[in-house]
Symmetry: C2
Subunit: 209 residues, 2 copies
DNA sequence: TTTCACATCTGAGCGCTGTACAGATATCTT
DNA sequence: AAGATATCTGTACAGCGCTCAGATGTGAAA
């Protein structure tokens, strides 16, 4: 931020407290869940005083934003990997499954991610512009699978609809009421597959019912 | 606000503190938003000491559950009204719109409702059994609109898919990124309609794309 | 090298929170 | 009239987000 002797910003006392705090937060999040994620607990976990974080984050929500941001980047990466892994006609379904599985495997992180999104009332800033964002990946895949890229509004609406469905499923997949369906269908994965295909947006061309 | 000469269970000191607390909570929720909804603030609003609520609720989350429960009942009622109002072929869409509009008009309450649901990892207990629940209403409407009631699994999956989509849209409809779409389509209502119809679950029979 | 400016971290403290508990008070039962 | 019990208050405690004055380390200027 100040000098340019070496390549990196070269931190001062701690090493890189900002990084350490975000790491500590993610560790706590995984170990204790979102309710344990207090600023003081994070500082404790990182081995600094409760006031130290305020030199790197304006307030608690800014620290949470940093954690959430990393979550979005991880999600983007997993979606990209899924897209290259499955290039067949069910690519969209594969993306949907990947999205929901990410949420199911990182429930605490997913919650922090959407806490941020709800607070800001917006997806991450670059969601619609960054080619590598999950959102753009879904939209592009729709085009590759036959949607007309000239019908911009139509395409955008379809992407939003898919995103809404995936997010809804991500939040509800774990509900107790659906246990018997999972058993009947042979596991959670099959359940997710079935619900997604009922959304009619993730399977290329066989409508809804 | 204090006396009750009438039929009711005849409470002791306050009148019906439990009721008063839930009312106070809803008042606060609407006026100050969900972050202002502390147990102490609710007690203050109701004019009692911070410890008083503990004689009516095990802890804060039980009070929140009561608020959320009322929210679900209000939602159920509005869905029922919508169903009788619009009995045409777009009944399902009307239900979807009603759901999302409820969430958009009562954002704080909707959040408390889903806080409960996320905590319990389940929809309200009677969601799948109570005929008057929004969930059953959607499922029944699907049958009335042509779905095969014998294909139970299929029907259940379609209902879940629709619910997921509606919930996703309820949470995302206010996002800043979608402002231009709302303008282009001529208002938020048209936007909701468009996204819902892209889900392919709310319009009876014209697939997705 | 000494000095200085400043980034970083600590410790104490404020007002808030959820919750516990002992004691006061009102109501119901006998 | 007396006792049991439900209800409410006052006080207290630990934890929270956040602020601020002061200590401490660091890089740049003299």
């Amino acid at each position: 931020m100040s000098q340019t002797k070496t390549v990196e910003p070269r931190p001062y006392h701690h090493g890189d407290l900002r990084r350490a705090l975000v790491d500590a937060a993610r560790r706590l999040l995984e170990a204790e869940g979102p309710s344990a994620l207090s600023l003081r607990a994070v500082a404790r976990e990182a081995g600094v005083s409760p006031a130290a974080p305020y030199h790197h984050f304006k307030d608690k929500s800014e620290l949470m934003d940093a954690v959430a941001q990393e979550g979005w980047e991880t999600l983007n990466a997993q979606m990209a990997e899924a897209k290259t892994r499955d290039a067949g006609p069910h690519q969209l379904t594969a993306l949907g499954i990947t999205y929901v599985c990410f949420a199911r495997e990182n429930p605490a992180l997913y919650r922090v991610m959407y806490d941020m999104v709800r607070e800001k009332e917006a997806l991450p800033e670059d969601a619609q512009s960054n080619k590598d964002s999950a959102y753009c990946m879904v939209r592009d895949t729709m085009v590759e699978r036959g949607a007309d890229p000239a019908a911009e509004t139509h395409l955008e609406l379809a992407t939003i609809a898919a995103w809404c469905g995936a997010h809804g499923l991500a939040e509800m997949a774990g509900f107790k009421q659906f246990e018997h369906l999972k058993e009947e269908l042979g596991g959670e994965r099959a359940f997710l597959d079935a619900v997604l295909s009922h959304m009619g947006l993730f399977a290329p061309k066989h409508g809804a019912c």
